[in-house]
C-alpha cells in the first residue's frame, strides 16, 4: 500500500439534506491520483477529533476522505456539548443523515483525481448510518459497519426519526459490506450480529464479518479504555484489504 504523507486538509461546505449547507472536514492526498474516495460518518459522540484523525488516516493511505457534520443544525460548540444537545433533541432523523451523506458522496465524486469509487464507513451510530446509506442509495461501492448498534431494533424502538430497523433494509443493500465487531459488546450484542449475518446470508449479499474476542464496543478508540491494540491493528488491516479490493479501479 502506498502512503501519502503530504495531504491537503480543509473544511468545505457541502449541500446536505434538502440543500441545507453543512460543514465537512476533508483530507486529500497530494499527488496526481487517481484516488478512491471514503465518506466517514461520525459517531454518537459527535463530529470530533477522532473523526478528523480518521479522515487524515484515510488520506495518508491514498483516499480522498471526507467527514461531514451531521450535527451542524444544532449549532456550533465543542463536539460533546453539541452531541448532548442533539441527544436532548432525540437524535437526528435517519432520512436527514442519508441526505447529508449523499452530499458528501457527491463532493467526492466531483473531485479531480477521483477514481470513480467511493466507500462509506462509520463507527458506533455511524456504522448503523453507513449501513442504512448503503441500503438506501446506490452510489457507493463498499460499506464498512464498525460495531454499529441498533441495526437490529425492536418495534418499540422505532419512531419518527428512526422509522425502519436497518436489518429490514438488507434486501436493498447495494454494495459489498464489511462488519467489524467486538464479542464483548452488548450493543450490538454477538446475538444481534449473528441475526444480521443470517439476514445477509439469506438474501445472498456480498459481505464479510470479523468478530474479535477480548474486545468490546469502540475498540479502535486509542484514547479510551476500550482500546485493544491487537484487535484494532488486525481489523485496520482487514478494512484496508476490503477497500483495496472493492475501491480500486
Amino acid at each position: 500500500m502506498s502512503f501519502y504523507r503530504g495531504m491537503v486538509c480543509e473544511n468545505v461546505t457541502i449541500k446536505g439534506d434538502k440543500g441545507t449547507p453543512i460543514t465537512a472536514y476533508t483530507a486529500t492526498p497530494s499527488g496526481a491520483g487517481p484516488f478512491p474516495g471514503v465518506v466517514l460518518i461520525h459517531h454518537l459522540p459527535g463530529w470530533d477529533d477522532y473523526y478528523m484523525e480518521m479522515t487524515r488516516r484515510f488520506a495518508h493511505a491514498g483516499y480522498i476522505a471526507i467527514s461531514h457534520n451531521l450535527y451542524e443544525r444544532s449549532g456550533p460548540g465543542t463536539p460533546d456539548d453539541v452531541a448532548a444537545k442533539v441527544r436532548a433533541e432525540g437524535g437526528v432523523p435517519d432520512s436527514q443523515m442519508v441526505g447529508d451523506t449523499e452530499g458528501a458522496v457527491q463532493w467526492v465524486r466531483a473531485r479531480a483525481g477521483h477514481n470513480g469509487k467511493v466507500g462509506v464507513i462509520g463507527t458506533c451510530s455511524g456504522g448503523r448510518h453507513a449501513y442504512i446509506y448503503a441500503c438506501q442509495r446506490k452510489d457507493v461501492d463498499a460499506c464498512a459497519d464498525l460495531w454499529g448498534g441498533r441495526v437490529v431494533m425492536g418495534k418499540e424502538e422505532l419512531n419518527a426519526k428512526t422509522p425502519v430497523a436497518p436489518i429490514d433494509m438488507t434486501k436493498d443493500l447495494s454494495c459489498p459490506l464489511i462488519g467489524i465487531f467486538g464479542n464483548e459488546d452488548r450493543a450490538p450484542s454477538p446475538e444481534q450480529v449473528n441475526q444480521h449475518e443470517a439476514e445477509l446470508k439469506k438474501l445472498g449479499k456480498n459481505y464479510e464479518f470479523h468478530r474479535y474476542d477480548g474486545a468490546g464496543h469502540g475498540f479502535f478508540y486509542w484514547h479510551r479504555p476500550a482500546y485493544r491494540v491487537d484487535q484494532c491493528m488486525d481489523a485496520w488491516g482487514k478494512l484496508f484489504a476490503f477497500y483495496g479490493k472493492h475501491l480500486a479501479k
Binding site: D80, A84, A88, G148, G149
Partner: protein, 101 residues
C-alpha cells in the same frame, strides 16, 4: 455499547457553566459509552437548555454504582423535602411543628 437507553424530561431550574448560570429546558439521562470518564459504560446526566447555544449544558458521567447512590440520596432528600412541605408549609400544617436537622 451504542444503546437506545435514554430518558428525556422537561426541567425547570438553573445550571452553572463556568461563571454563569443558565435556565434549564431539559434533563437527559442516558446509559452509554463514556466520552470523558476513563470507564466503559456510564450513566450520563445532562442538564441542558436546547433553546440556547450548545454550551448551555452541565454534564456528568457516573458509574452505575454512583448513579444508584445518587438516586438513593435524591429519594431521601425528596422524601424529607415533601415532609417539610406538608408538615411545615403545607395547607393545614400546624405552625409549631418544626423539624430540626
Amino acid at each position: 455499547m451504542c444503546t437506545s437507553i435514554i430518558e428525556i424530561v422537561g426541567a425547570e431550574g438553573m445550571a452553572k457553566r463556568e461563571d454563569n448560570w443558565f435556565p434549564l429546558s431539559h434533563a437527559v439521562v442516558a446509559y452509554d459509552h463514556a466520552r470523558h470518564a476513563l470507564l466503559d459504560d456510564v450513566i450520563t446526566l445532562d442538564f441542558i437548555n436546547t433553546t440556547l447555544d450548545s454550551g448551555a449544558r452541565a454534564g456528568v458521567e457516573l458509574t452505575l454504582d454512583t448513579a444508584k447512590e445518587l438516586r438513593a440520596a435524591l429519594d431521601r432528600a425528596i422524601a424529607a423535602a415533601e415532609f417539610e412541605e406538608a408538615e411545615v408549609r403545607g395547607k393545614g400544617a400546624v405552625p409549631t411543628i418544626v423539624r430540626a436537622a
